[in-house]
């Protein structure tokens, strides 16, 4: 189920990005968007998830360029959310044994080779993990998109000292986040 969703996400974000560039007559950037998206799509179609990182980074950077040179920012939120979802699903497919990496198993050539009970159990487990993953991704996407859209229409004026305070708090938050990630990576190492 993840494969069609992944391909739809890549197609939609590519077409949306290229379409917005085309509307603003930025033809070169539209062509670049199409090239990046098509490359990612083709590699995912062939079951190679190696282009996911480059694909997502390329699409997000192009959406930033669109905001800087163009004028449409709302569609770009959708583009970022779709690119993030596609990247996540691509990694998820790589993690799933038997789907991309080809770890499993025996192909069914006759009725004797039909999946046995443990094999069908395994497929059921994978399906349930897949469902859970898609559910959580959908929630994160919706919340992310709504918060991004809300933040765009939200304006407030801050005084200089308040900006300093908010900046300081932001720096502290970033610092805490980096420490937390570094600690986790250290634990992962051993």
């Amino acid at each position: 189920m993840t494969r069609p969703v992944l391909l739809i996400c890549i197609s939609l974000c590519t077409l949306l990005l290229a379409g917005v560039f085309a509307v603003t007559s930025l033809w070169l950037l539209a062509a670049t968007s199409l090239a990046v998206g098509a490359g990612w799509f083709l590699l995912e179609w062939r079951g190679q998830g190696s282009a996911a990182d480059a694909g997502m980074a390329g699409i997000i950077l192009l959406s930033v360029v669109q905001i800087v040179f163009g004028s449409s920012s709302l569609p770009m939120v959708l583009v970022v959310v779709l690119a993030l979802s596609a990247w996540d699903l691509s990694r998820f497919r790589q993690r799933m044994p038997g789907s991309v990496s080809g770890y499993t198993v025996k192909r069914c050539s006759s009725y004797k080779d039909m999946p046995t009970k443990p094999e069908s159990d395994r497929e059921e487990t994978h399906r349930s993990i897949e469902r859970k993953h898609l559910r959580r991704l959908l929630i994160v996407d919706v919340v992310g998109m709504i918060s991004a859209i809300l933040s765009m229409g939200f304006q407030f004026h801050l005084g200089f000292y308040l900006i300093l305070l908010v900046g300081g708090l932001a720096l502290l938050a970033i610092y805490r986040m980096l420490i937390s990630i570094a600690g986790f990576v250290r634990q992962e190492d051993g």
């Binding site: 990182d53 939120v77 996540d88 044994p97 198993v105 919340v143 918060s147």
Partner: protein
């Protein structure tokens, strides 16, 4: 995992930086989905993992090619794990034939996950110590790797070639009844000699024909006692004489031959010992019966070819391992340098038989085209020259009184042994030409 996390963090801070530098709030807003994605991943990141693993195997001592089913059960006794990736690495040489050694599961607290797969392996001893487990949250950004102790020990025994009794005649036999003529008069089946009648001789053993020619004397038929013997098997595991061809190895055929011969000798009631001469010297002390067969089988399941500069020649063969004047059976492809050692063994009073898996035929099978001649004329000439040299080596061994069985490994060993026994003169067949 870290690469993806790094990419996400770099993208996030790039968006924030570009947004701040360009004073564009929209770009800052683009970072929100990434922040929420990262935050959710961090929130659900796995904590301390407490897993209990149990491995069950259908067999631990199997024949080569026999399938073995492995069951792994992982029990979560700690915090819930959203995604658990299990990788049970197979020892080198073990082949997966059904199922998967990789599994992905979601394990709430107190839940179990079972995985099963079927493997098979060639002869050998295999072991694995652990199973690699990776616990992660649903987005797979944060994970913890754990190695769970799940030891696996598997021994795959070689398959024996069916063989009937191998006729041997060592100079010395043991005291128990068996199938080997012992060159001593007594109760037996085969006629041995005639001597003058002594009181107590059974009446039906009197040779009446000779008695008729000597009216005042009686003569008694004496039969040859049949006894068991000491048999020492030597398996040559030196790497430079054992050839490999793809996945097949001449040594594997030697191992099968050793097992078949030990079975045949033990079934006849003989005392059999085994010495493996290769990278190291390993041995099974001589013994009788089924327990001895198991010991030999275990040893043959473990042995492999090896190289040791000190043991390049058979000259360091520990002959004192074998009882004096016993039967020695060497299973070796033989090289030119080995013949003097065989001559020495004969000179020390051992009856020596060499089962010689033919390395030339084995190697030529790689080059043959549809079973015909070798690939080209150079190879053909080389094969013929090597064949002449090998014939010379075997001839030298035969002249020293060694029974040489030149065995093409694609043929039956029993047939090759029988052919040699029937083809030799009676004196050699009886093995008394010391």
């Amino acid at each position: 995992m870290k690469k993806h996390l790094l990419l996400l963090v770099v993208l996030l801070f790039s968006l924030l930086l570009i947004g701040l530098l360009s004073l564009r709030g929209e770009i800052l807003a683009l970072a929100f989905p990434l922040i929420i994605y990262l935050g959710v991943a961090l929130w659900f990141s796995p904590e301390n993992i407490e897993l209990v693993i149990r491995r069950e195997m259908s067999h631990q001592w199997v024949s080569s090619g026999e399938p073995i089913t492995v069951h792994l059960t992982v029990h979560n006794v700690g915090a819930p794990v959203e995604e658990l990736a299990l990788l049970d690495p197979l020892p080198p040489g073990v082949r997966l034939i059904e199922g998967s050694t990789i599994a992905l599961a979601s394990l709430p607290t107190g839940d179990k996950h079972e995985m099963a797969y079927t493997i098979c392996a060639p002869r050998g001893e295999y072991s694995a110590t652990h199973t690699a487990v990776t616990a992660m949250e649903t987005f797979g950004l944060f994970s913890r790797d754990v190695r769970l102790d799940a030891p696996m020990s598997l021994r795959v025994k070689p398959t024996a070639i069916s063989m009937k009794s191998v006729p041997i005649r060592p100079p010395q036999t043991r005291g128990f009844s068996g199938p080997i003529p012992s060159r001593q008069g007594g109760s037996g089946v085969d006629f041995f000699l005639v001597r003058e009648y002594q009181s107590g001789d059974p009446e039906h053993h009197i040779n009446w024909r000779i008695a008729a020619r000597h009216p005042r004397e009686l003569y008694t038929n004496i039969y040859q006692m049949e006894r068991v013997a000491d048999v020492g098997l030597i398996l040559d595991a030196r790497s430079h004489v054992n050839i490999r061809s793809g996945s097949d190895s001449l040594f594997e055929h030697s191992v099968k031959a050793a097992l078949s011969l030990s079975d045949a000798f033990l079934n006849d009631g003989n005392r059999v010992g085994l010495l493996v001469y290769g990278g190291v010297i390993r041995s099974v002390f001589p013994g009788y019966g089924k327990i001895q067969r198991e010991r030999i089988l275990k040893m043959l399941a473990q042995v492999s070819i090896g190289h040791n500069y000190a043991l390049e020649s058979l000259g360091y063969l520990p002959t004192r391992f074998f009882p004096a004047r016993s039967q020695i059976v060497l299973i070796s492809p033989l090289s030119m340098e080995d013949v003097p050692v065989l001559v020495q063994l004969r000179a020390r009073g051992y009856a020596v038989m060499v089962i010689c898996p033919d390395p030339l035929h084995f190697e030529a099978q790689m080059l043959t085209q549809d079973g015909g001649s070798v690939r080209n004329w150079q190879a053909d000439h080389a094969y013929r020259l090597a064949r002449i040299e090998r014939g010379f080596v075997l001839q030298k061994a035969r002249r020293a009184g060694v029974q040489v069985v030149d065995w093409r490994v694609d043929e039956s060993l029993a047939h090759a042994v029988q052919k040699v026994m029937l083809g030799q003169p009676v004196r050699c067949r009886l093995g008394d030409g010391i």
